[in-house]
């Protein structure tokens, strides 16, 4: 059978399960198109509110509309990617409570992959699409002094941001092993976090910004690296110059921490009495 490699096995299982769900949603093409379009409209309204705000003011926390759109696009797209990939993991609490996690444990695939791919919803791609559109607008409309490094940083931020949000999703799921009703808490960090990041850090209090930067390193999704790209000061005074290039490190750190939390959570699973 050879050596067992959880990562490749996990990705394979993920592909198989997600593929099955995609095929099943696509059997009802019309309904899929409707929900995807509906999602796009709803998330689209989100940015419209920001645009409307700018009809009253010229700057928000010192950021112009294209600059806010830059933050928004980065946050929404990376969150959308994470949500698409493992957003389903927030249903873990219910599985733990009713013991249906048992079933995942007797399949020859890592549990996280199965949980994440369960009910893989292609319509979540709507958020990615909307985020990308806003980001595209920002890139065209803003007058950034582009350098090769800055150009590379944009896709880099999306990947790292996606990884950081994914880590938050996984950590939240792991927490649900202990507190099965914690999906609300998790949403506060994921959905709440991404909404927070859509606005310039300068509109928030220093304490909040500090918390977001150091306790839940969400600020590395966009605030810090975007400040570098936009040629603005970092949201926190004390941050070193290289902090803009820290996202890959932060992402790796977050993923490692989330993986540990997940393993600890899974180990604490004790099924139910029936």
């Amino acid at each position: 059978m050879g050596e067992y490699r959880p990562l490749t096995e996990g990705l394979r299982a993920y592909r198989l399960i997600a593929g099955m769900w995609v095929r099943s949603t696509l059997t009802y093409r019309a309904s899929f198109a409707m929900t995807a379009f509906g999602g796009l409209v709803v998330t689209g309204l989100d940015f419209v509110t920001i645009v409307l705000m700018f009809s009253r003011v010229d700057v928000l926390g010192g950021y112009s509309l294209p600059e806010v759109a830059f933050l928004y696009g980065l946050s929404a797209t990376s969150f959308g990617l994470a949500d698409l990939a493992i957003g389903s993991a927030d249903r873990l609490g219910r599985r733990v409570r009713d013991g249906t996690l048992d079933i995942l444990l007797v399949r020859p695939a890592p549990v996280l992959a199965q949980v994440a791919a369960d009910r893989f919803a292609l319509r979540r791609i709507g958020r990615v699409a909307q985020g990308s559109l806003v980001l595209g607008y920002a890139l065209i409309a803003s007058d950034i002094a582009w350098t090769p490094v800055k150009a590379l940083m944009v896709p880099g931020m999306l990947v790292c941001g996606g990884a950081i949000f994914s880590a938050v999703f996984v950590a939240g799921a792991a927490f649900q092993f202990v507190a099965q009703d914690a999906s609300e808490v998790q949403h506060a960090f994921t959905y709440g976090g991404q909404t927070l990041l859509q606005y310039p850090p300068t509109v928030f209090g220093k304490e909040l910004v500090r918390g977001v930067t150091f306790m839940f390193p969400l600020a590395f999704v966009n605030w810090v690296p975007a400040a570098y790209v936009l040629g603005r000061p970092y949201p926190l005074g004390g941050l070193p110059r290289w902090a803009a290039f820290a996202p890959p490190l932060v992402a790796v750190g977050c993923c490692a921490a989330a993986a540990l939390a997940w393993r600890a959570g899974l180990r604490s699973y004790r099924s139910t009495g029936s």
């Binding site: 079933i103 007797v106 099924s271």
Partner: protein, 320 residues
């Protein structure tokens, strides 16, 4: 005879916290499985019975790697289930009567197709197994129905097929006949019998329906309060449980209760009398004695009711 499943002094203790007031909690330990030891050889078909809360499901969960034992040693096909869960998964099949392993919102066939890929079942083998299951479990008309629309009995048959597509060496069934009608039960039993005889699959069967055991298992294990109370042939249960056989005697006329060694009269109705005697004993001396002493017209022997035997066993345990 190689031991395929080895359970050696295995324990499972659950820590249960109960809220007794605001912020106040008491911890209590529930010993679900207590120093349990047994082995099952390859190809055996074993019935695993016991009253509610005895620890049957907990044992199955430890054998499949869902739960880690609190103490003791457990091996299935030489693998430690909780440590090597994913590797073991390729070699075992599990059916939980209480919950389905199928994908709830998708057509039945999707669950099978996914298993095909996930377990890396060779195409020819998959087709062959699926065909056989579909035929024997009569799933043909159900393959395109979403699992949530299946009736309990249909779903259970679907679950059994799902557990067998990858040719598992051992099949665990936790109450596979719960809630099934007589016809479905017969179908499932026939299928399991054939599976065990034909493919040599080891089967461990948990049930509350003793007919399952009577019809399928040559060996039965009885567990109560997490401890093994009996392990052996089904017939032996009668003696272990102090079961009694009944001799029904028709006399020529009404007579006072018969007096004979090592038996007692349990009922008298006109010329007919019912005598109970230990199941382990031969009826011949008793019959000879009665024939010699009384005007005998007819007689018949009734085997003990296995349900009664086991009920008695459970009850005795509860008292002690």
């Amino acid at each position: 005879m190689d031991a395929f499943i080895e359970v050696d002094r295995v324990e499972k203790v659950f820590e249960v916290r109960r809220r007794t007031g605001f912020m106040k909690r008491v911890k209590r330990q529930v010993r679900a499985v207590d120093s349990l030891s047994f082995t099952v050889a390859r190809g055996e078909m074993v019935g695993y019975i016991g009253p509610n809360g005895a620890g049957k499901s907990t044992t199955v969960k430890m054998l499949t790697g869902i739960l880690m034992p609190s103490a003791g040693r457990l091996r299935v096909a030489g693998i430690d289930p909780s440590r090597d869960r994913t590797r073991l998964a390729h070699r075992i099949g599990v059916v939980f009567g209480q919950r389905t392993t199928l994908w709830w919102d998708l057509p039945l066939i999707d669950s099978y197709r996914l298993a095909h890929r996930m377990y890396r079942i060779p195409d020819a083998r998959y087709r062959e197994n699926l065909e056989r299951c579909v035929e024997l479990l009569e799933l043909g008309a159900l393959l395109d129905v979403p699992v949530r629309q299946l009736s309990l009995g249909q779903r259970m048959r679907g679950d059994i097929a799902a557990a067998l597509l990858h040719d598992p060496e051992v099949l665990y069934l936790d109450e596979p006949t719960i809630g099934l009608d007589v016809v479905s039960k017969a179908k499932v039993r026939g299928f399991l019998k054939e599976l065990n005889a034909g493919s040599g699959t080891t089967v461990l069967l948990t049930t509350h329906d003793l007919q399952d055991i009577e019809q399928l298992c040559s060996r039965v294990m009885v567990i109560d309060h997490g401890r093994l109370m009996y392990d052996g042939a089904l017939a032996g249960l009668h003696e272990a449980g102090e079961g009694e056989r009944t001799l029904v005697v028709d006399l020529e006329r009404e007579l006072p209760p018969i007096e004979a060694p090592s038996c007692r009269v349990v009922r008298v109705a006109g010329p007919r009398q019912w005598l109970a005697f230990p199941a382990g004993r031969s009826a011949a001396p008793l019959v000879a004695h009665i024939a010699a002493e009384y005007p005998l017209v007819d007689l018949s022997v009734r085997e003990p009711d296995i349900e009664a035997v086991i009920a008695k066993m459970y009850a005795e345990k509860a008292v002690s």
